[in-house]
């Protein structure tokens, strides 16, 4: 029996669409799961709110609570000026959240465990912060790299550190999500493989397989928590970075 814990991250071309300068653009399993995210998110936030009930049902309550939660998070981080980014932050949060949650189903594919996806999302946030920061504050925006209250003779040391920490943001922002998803899914797969291996090893092994099975149950609960927390972390870091674009003074 061959169980490869990495196989679940494999992208497969389902349908080759274009070939641009030797770069293949295809409809992949990853693309299908991204569209699935769009469909499920729309079902929750458009389908479940279609009745516009004054007294909401369960799904409408979920939609409203998510809305209010993200709105409160963004407002607390950036103040009322940041609410123009609300649709973006909301979309980012639900995209990552549903990507994570879909991935927890066995045999599914987790879009957010692809480094290419998380890097693009993090870079979009990064460039949004840079461009909006310059557009709104002009050159005053570079004050972001000059912390207030630091003696002038420290600045030659502090400013490069601040610039470096700013430039590495997309790395930490994207790798945090990617690594959490990757590690969680590999762990689940490895413990799942233990069950099958032990169960195939005779009667004693069948009893022994209870242990990794219990572990998988616990890990599923943990993964569910990690999925939601990482989506929240991704969203709140986006809020904090956007706050730097709006209020560059520390």
């Amino acid at each position: 029996m061959h169980i490869n814990p990495i196989e679940q991250f494999q992208i497969n071309n389902w349908l080759l669409l274009f070939n641009v300068h030797g770069h293949q653009i295809a409809f992949t399993n990853s693309a299908a799961y991204m569209l699935l995210i769009v469909i499920l998110v729309s079902a929750l936030f458009i389908g479940a709110t279609a009745r516009r009930a004054i007294i909401p049902g369960r799904l409408q309550s979920v939609a409203e609570m998510t809305y209010e939660f993200i709105a409160a998070t963004l407002r607390n981080s950036t103040g009322p000026e940041g609410m123009r980014f609300f649709p973006f932050v909301f979309t980012l949060f639900v995209f990552v959240l549903f990507g994570n949650l879909i991935g927890i189903f066995p045999f599914s594919f987790s879009v957010t465990s692809q480094l290419s996806i998380t890097v693009i999302l993090a870079l979009v946030v990064f460039f949004m912060v840079v461009i909006y920061g310059f557009w709104k504050n002009g050159w005053h925006w570079v004050k972001l790299f000059v912390p207030k209250g630091v003696p002038v003779y420290f600045l030659p040391m502090i400013v490069p550190i601040e610039v470096m920490s700013f430039l590495t943001r997309p790395v930490s922002h994207s790798v945090r999500l990617f690594a959490n998803m990757l590690a969680g899914h590999i762990t689940l797969q490895v413990f799942g493989a233990f069950i099958i291996m032990l169960a195939g090893a005779g009667v004693l092994g069948m009893f022994g397989a209870v242990l990794p099975f219990a572990m998988v149950v616990i890990l599923f609960a943990l993964e569910l928590l990690v999925d939601v927390v990482q989506a929240y972390v991704f969203a709140i870091l986006t809020c904090i970075y956007l706050n730097d674009a709006i209020h560059p003074g520390h």
Binding site: F45, Q114, L115, I120, V190, A193
Partner: protein, 178 residues
Amino acid sequence: MAAPTTATTEVPAGQSKFPPFQSQYYPSQFVWLALSFILLYVLMSKVALPRIDSILAARAKRIEEDMATARHFKERSEAANTAYEKSLADARSRAQGIANETREQQAAAAEETNKRLESELHQRLATAEQSITATRATAMGNVNAVAAEAAAAIVERLIGKTPEPHELEAALGGAGKS
């Protein structure tokens, strides 16, 4: 563990790299991420979020209206209660006034009746006294005549001779007078 399972992340010979680093899929990933994310952004910002916003606003408005209506009714009930208590107090004081007035009227009427009856009684008393006095005088006159007749009869029996009326008169004059 001689099983063919590979528990390591090493790439088996002849196979491609670790999937997240397989760069031949990056263009597809980018295109489909852009498409689905923009689609989701449009759906959220144009449909879902304004709708949820309007639902929340409608609910807040409804709650406020209901609260205002409730406040209005509360005020009305309090006003009605005050009016009721006021009219109750008015009625009570009016009833007391009427009772006092009636009592005074009746007392005055009783007083008048008493006076009238008293004076009538006095009058009757006086009349009665007068008639008693007259009757007594008449009775006393009659007594003298009866005494004179009785004395004449007694004397005649005793001495066989009828006394003269003026002698009788003289004899009885003192007794009648005393």
